[in-house]
Amino acid sequence: MMREWWAKVRGAVLGRGDLADLRDEIESHFELAREANEARGMSPEQARREAAREIGNKTLLKENAREAWKFPRWESFWQDLRCAVRGFRKSPGFTAAVLLTLALGIGVNTAIFSVVYAVLLRPLPYPASERLVWLGESAGKAIDIAITWLNFEHWRAENHSFEEMAGFHTEDFTLTGRGDAVLTHAGVVTSAFFELTGARPLFGRLFARADEKSGAADIVVLGYDFWNRRLGGDPGVVGTTLDLNGTGYQVVGVLAPSPKFFERPFDFCLPLGPREDRLNRGHHRSMHVLGRLRPGVTLAGARTDLDQIMRRLDLGDPSTEKGHRSYAEYLMETRTGEIRPTLVMLMGAVLLVLVLACANVSNLLLARSTERVRELAIRSAIGAGRARLARQLFTETLLLTFGGGAAGVGLAAVCLRLLQHVAPPDIPRLSEVSLDVPVLAFACVASLISGLIAGMTPVRSANKLDLTTALKEGSAASGRMRHALGNLLVAGEVAATVVLAFAAGLLVRSLAIAQTTYPGFEPSHVLALELQLPPGSYKTDNAVETFYKSLNERLRREPGVEAVGSVNCPPSAGDCSDWWYSVAGRAVRSREDVPLTLQNVADADYFRTMRIPIKAGRDFSSADQAGTLRVTIVNETLARKWWRSPVEAIGRLIKLGGPFNEGPLLQIIGVAGDVSQMGLDTMPEPEIYSPFSLNPSRAMVVMIRTAVDPGSLAHAVRRDLASVDHNIPIQSLKPFSKWLAAPLAKRRFTTFLLGVFATLAFALAGIGIYGVLNYWVKARQREIAVRMALGAQNSRLVAWAGSHMGRLVAAGIVAGLAASWAASRWLSSLVFQVSPRSPSMLLLALAAVVFTASLAAAVPFWRAIHTDVVGNLHDF
């Protein structure tokens, strides 16, 4: 009844006016009854007695009336809460232990969950993002290849699966005419890109289909930040011109702030169309396509649809591109696929930590409820129902868990700050992590479930309470029950710790191997200068070659410089380019079997500068000029893949592009040692180097080997660059060791986190084992005293208690081993050069757990052999 409830609330807030004169009312009631009785002819004494009988207990009556204004359920809950708080105040040690344990468990879970939520679960910030698909081409072993313009046009026009499709790639341009020359970053996109990514114009217009046509005007749409920062937020910018790589682009619009799409946000967008030479079906730039599926269309369905178009194109155009098919994955997968196994593993680890925390809290509650058996029995004896008692115990536990949960959320906030500080920058969306509603909901649910789990055991044991024994004997009564539960908890804790220790051990070992792996060259004392020459001012190969030649010569003359060499794709930079190849004389049966190799460009001084050994043949030389046959150096992995030793590879021929694609024939003149191209924690892949003199590339990293601290030469390097051409922006200039460290940062981060969680697990398990054993010894004080009085040696006592502990730990270890075995499946993608089922790592984890258990058992054992024999025997 709404009105009644409202009146109660109003009464509770404003005071219950109607209750104020209740006492007067009852008094007057009594008088009225007495008078009526007298009027009926009773004697005054009889009338008074009769009226008093009719009225009953006046205080109770008042209480009854007052009751009508209360919320009975709420107030009994409130009463339980107050009672719980009083109880906790009386045992601050217990309360602090429980709160701290829960805060740790819930805190790390909330922190990691907030990362999992922001990175893996939260929808991408684009309209209908769950239907956005990343598209590429695939052919044989190669997947997610760039899409040609021609194929894109056919897909866009002929598919039945997508609402909309947009092509895009990124390109760097040198901006001139507005202050110093700067390197800018462009998104080159087709018209639908803006709609698909939810970008809207602030001023002017965006692109239309007409802007993609061959011969359309050069136009540009500015990104909000670029417009605001670089152009000062000039509202009259539309209609002006931007000089990019020496060409004028007319500004037609400015974008409103919108969620970023590319890993590096663009400064502006240019229209993508079939310009230059894009009309050839075999011409791959780096274009990929974003598509939005029609509702109800599956990814597989969309691929079948696109593949049909590709097959039809194969029939009409028997070019070298025959056999290409589509590649598609959900954009969410593209964005988060790489980090998912890591986060899932970390989430699993913190859940184990929470389980450990719950087990310990359960243990603490159990110990407390054992001490409170008498109190509960008395309550029960004076009429508290079992349900009422259970509700009170649950209220206490929930109060504890939510207190712990609140502290945990505070801890999580601190952890997140730390995480964002120490995390490597390439974890997508990590900066968006915050403690928002879903994360807080998670913390609430985690607290609630922890409370239910931890609170269940004490409540269950309270329900089994045997009144008579409990009242008579006090705390000894429910010992057996508690023992069984405590033992189970200890075994479970040991199991969880084994799993965490094993996983952490594997990752630490992987990291150690990765960090001490010889990268294939000498990384210290190298300064790396990354450059990208603007194509506007360096149009010919000759100009590019001349530039790098004169820069390198200048650098070589600097004091402290030992050698200078350049490479297009330095070690640890990853896969800058790969392509099919075949070896002359080795037949390849089908397109699917054509192998891939990494491609790189190096100058004649590169291997010497980096101290990469030439295992066979010779280095590049300045004599490698245009001739009839092009020369190449392959890495050792490629050479050993086809020949028994590097020497045998010398003089052999390699066909780039493989048998099914056009490509030059290369002669192997040397075999270089492997370098960690994809990062220190990866296995080497086949790689071929082309000489810079034959394939001048605008993008090169100039390696400067120094005799002094590489950082000290930075100024001289800048000066030399400016003296060759002052209009070249520097992409990066840093000691090469920093390049090498970057790909390992994520592994180091993951390993660090898992290490922290494993340490937490050890601490929690140690505390748990200590608690249970301590109780075990305490409950057996008399038995121990008797044994000692009968002449038991200390060693016998320890062996006796130790066998008890041993059984528990052994049971936990067996369960932990089984769980580790099962968990290794998830770890396989995260380990490097260690088997995910490494027996030595398992042994190490076991040893660590056994050591922790022994450490935790030491104090209870010591207590056991120092039992006060006389005192205990007197108590009989």
Binding site: A7, L19, E25, E35, I55, A68, W69
Partner: protein, 117 residues
């Protein structure tokens, strides 16, 4: 009908919500105090309903909360101060509603307990 005779010997127990209707009904005639209300119910039911004060007072508080009655201190005919309760317009409406509900309830009960004689 020995059962009925047996029931007459001890007062009937109130069904859920009965007491509220009886209070409203007793106030329909004139404002009254708690003692008067309990006397009225007892007399009108010929001692079948004996109102326990432990139920009467909370019931009065509930009716006050629902704004079906209001209370006011007045002098009784023989000069004693007493808290008189009075029906509000809302209470009057509720009484009419409750009366028809009870009539239906009673009819339904008797149709089942005493089928067509």
């Amino acid at each position: 009908m020995s059962t009925v005779d047996h029931l007459r010997e001890s007062p009937l127990e109130f069904l859920q919500g009965t007491l509220e209707v009886l209070i409203l009904r007793s106030l329909q005639i004139a404002p009254n105090h708690a003692y008067g209300i309990s006397q009225f119910i007892r007399q009108q039911s010929e001692d079948d309903f004996v109102v326990d004060n432990g139920s009467l007072y909370p019931a009065l508080q509930r009716l006050l909360q629902r704004e079906w009655i209001t209370g006011e201190w007045k002098l009784s005919p023989n000069g004693r101060r007493a808290r008189y309760y009075k029906l509000t317009a809302l209470g009057r409406k509720q009484l009419v509603k409750s009366q028809s509900e009870w009539r239906r309830f009673v009819q339904a009960m008797s149709r089942i307990l005493e089928p067509q004689r």
